[in-house]
Symmetry: C2
Subunit: 199 residues, 2 copies
DNA sequence: CGTTTTCCGATGTGATCACATCGATTTGAT
DNA sequence: ATCAAATCGATGTGATCACATCGGAAAACG
């Protein structure tokens, strides 16, 4: 039995595979297309296995959303790691929200889908609020650092600046997704919004 | 037979009632909860009538989305009618996108839901793009007027300014909907973004 | 008034789904 | 090796759904 570390390493790996299959189905066909069958087919496993690891559909969706947030956090953390100063990190993170390749497009399609789901699913809503609280806090801290250094001069609270920039980038992102706004214009507008902070 | 105007006045009225019921179900329970049964119950009619006016579910959803866009256009037209100048109209329309009462909350919940649906439903996507093209054109025209008058000084194209402001207002709106951002702050931020144009 | 079309409620049908159940196999601990 | 737990495939079940069908009621029209 191949096991990399501790008991249940396979258990977690299989859960992750199934969650990734859910996210792939959501990306390609939306939440309505998610079922034991479709997920099992996408993951290349039996429907029984899906049911074994996620006895109810609600648990499956919640776990998949957790997985999406986990992936998002990884991406953001990677961008935050390169410590080129708050401005560079802010720019990197926020422009990454605008779909410009397969990975970012998929990511935002999934996010948009679950945001809609959150409107009528309190469990998803709770997770979404938690994810945004963390993102806003991270970015607000970057803003606060440059406010303290004097690079940013504004009376606006750092948390509000962060929330505003995220909302702007996501609003643009949705319009890019549905094709009503060019990705390059959106990206430039995000960069402009950040630059405006430093004037 | 009570008929107000021309043949089929009742026909159109009943279609509208059913579409409004769809929108009510979407608002309260999401697109997943839309079925002949749920819509008929919400409208207080028989399932047979729903099926008669909308033979397929796709037609029902498309008609409901058209109805939502019709209502949105009415609201915007009402705000545009009061000709207090481009700036006042821009402010009125864009702040109206931020949920602050029952009507605006419902409107944005429905919009968010259909935006997600558009990601995997090309018929809805087409309608969504058309609706945004009209909104952007309307707002761009207002911006262009104040650019021509010199009240707004910017090198940005009016269509891009309009798209940017809408994206920002909607991005904030979604965060207000899910409860990660206060409505009054969002509204003030929208007003600020417009004010920035006039500096 | 008659008839032709529209309306619409009721019922049927096949498909899909979430979830339960259970037997067989595999795995991990001792 | 042995046992107990975890895994997992297969099958069953009841519910829901979209949509088809059809008969009668109502309305529009000549």
């Amino acid at each position: 039995m191949p096991r990399t570390r501790g008991p249940g390493a396979h258990h977690d790996a299989r859960r992750r595979e199934i969650c990734d299959a859910v996210l792939a189905v959501v990306d390609e066909a939306g939440l309505a297309a998610v079922s034991q069958m479709s997920v099992a087919a996408k993951a290349g496993v039996s429907a029984g296995r899906v049911q074994h690891y996620f006895p109810t559909k609600a648990q499956l969706l919640e776990a998949a959303f957790d997985r999406a947030n986990e992936l998002a956090t990884e991406r953001i953390t990677a961008l935050t790691a390169t410590d080129d100063g708050p401005r560079a990190v802010l720019t990197a993170v926020l422009t990454e929200l605008v779909p410009h390749d397969r990975a970012t497009t998929t990511h935002m399609r999934i996010r948009q889908t679950f945001t809609a789901q959150a409107l009528t699913d309190e469990r998803v809503a709770t997770r979404l609020r938690q994810a945004y609280a963390e993102l806003h806090a991270r970015l607000a801290e970057l803003v606060a650092r440059d406010v303290a250094s004097g690079a940013i001069g504004t009376a606006e609270r750092p948390e509000h600046v962060a929330a505003r920039l995220v909302a702007f980038a996501e609003g643009l992102a949705y319009h890019v997704l549905i094709g009503t706004h060019p990705a390059d214009v959106a990206r430039a507008q995000v960069v402009d919004a950040i630059d405006a902070l430093y004037r």
